[in-house]
Symmetry: C2
Subunit: 197 residues, 2 copies
């Protein structure tokens, strides 16, 4: 593998909402999880669990349940957010839930300290490790994830944090623009711009 920097991985990375039919290596997916469980967590409790799903029947159920929630969500969302969704061609439909080569559902144990925070930091590791393997994902979170644990027979103390569809991207949209970091960094006090050369 050619040398790269974390910036290379982060900068080329874009959210994928459609995936090629090209098969992927399950080892690459397992690698991204092996990387990610090295992440720090509150009191080192490692509050996460992963469910890998390639089962067509289960995935059809997942998609149907998510899309039902999405229909409700899109009908109740603030006007300016719905406008943004429309401008990005985002609807209640989530075909990637059945079409991506694999889904990884990520859960956090609510009883652990900083369970959600730790789990999402760990997901940052997953995303960069997938990028190293040239794989793409979108951190898809259904509108009411706490109601979907039953699909996976998850215990009540585990919260579904996200469902990651993983595959080679077939998404033709460019990477969404990012604000320049200079405008997001302050020196000691809010709104005092950090002096960057």
């Amino acid at each position: 593998m050619a040398p790269f920097t974390v910036m290379d991985l982060a900068a080329r990375r874009k959210t994928a909402r459609s995936f090629a039919k090209t098969p992927i290596s399950l080892d690459d997916v397992l690698y991204s999880i092996k990387v990610a469980v090295q992440a720090p967590s509150g009191a080192n409790k490692q509050p996460w669990r992963f469910i890998l799903s390639t089962d067509a029947e289960l995935r059809a159920k997942i998609r149907a349940a998510c899309e039902e929630q999405e229909k409700h969500f899109h009908s109740s969302v603030e006007a300016n957010l719905e406008e943004w969704f429309k401008s990005k061609n985002l609807t209640w439909q989530k075909p990637f839930l059945t079409d991506a080569p694999i889904l990884v559902a990520v859960f956090s144990n609510r009883k652990m300290p900083y369970a959600t925070e730790s789990t999402w930091l760990m997901i940052g590791y997953v995303v960069l490790a997938l990028e190293e393997k040239l794989l793409s994902t979108v951190t898809y979170t259904p509108p009411y994830p706490e109601n979907l644990g039953y699909l996976f027979e998850a215990p009540a103390n585990y919260r579904l944090e996200t469902i990651l569809p993983i595959g080679y991207s077939a998404d033709s949209k460019p990477k969404e623009r990012r604000q320049p970091s200079e405008s997001l960094i302050y020196e000691n006090i809010w709104n005092r711009n950090y002096p960057i050369d």
Copy 2:
């Protein structure tokens, strides 16, 4: 730079609670933020802000406020968690808040969708990018971060998510053990072990 993998960065990384007096390059810290703001976020809202602090007076105030919260927290925490803290030599004292070369306070905009989740995913990027530069941190979150925004004059809609002390580690403790990823991965349904070679 020698070639590396994301696993190299993740696996060697350990939480640092004490830091060498060796000066660090501010450019390395800014690099980690530039990397991190490439992360995905809910509706691409990039809900994060960063306050870099090297000011001794401000940092003394931050430390005093955090340690006051910690004293209260340690006196009210569950017995088994307090036992774990003691076994790790973790007390209410947070000397790294004044001793690390720099602090980076990370805020999220509560009004943005999935602000906390997005911000912590982004922090995963920060941690790996720091590791690339051989820098260490601990994702220190005070017990009641919502009460500390005033120290930075942060607007009420911004939530303090974590304070990252950054420097070269002077922590002699080994990396905390991680559970083997095999035990954390299920196939389609909770508790069905994923068949890993």
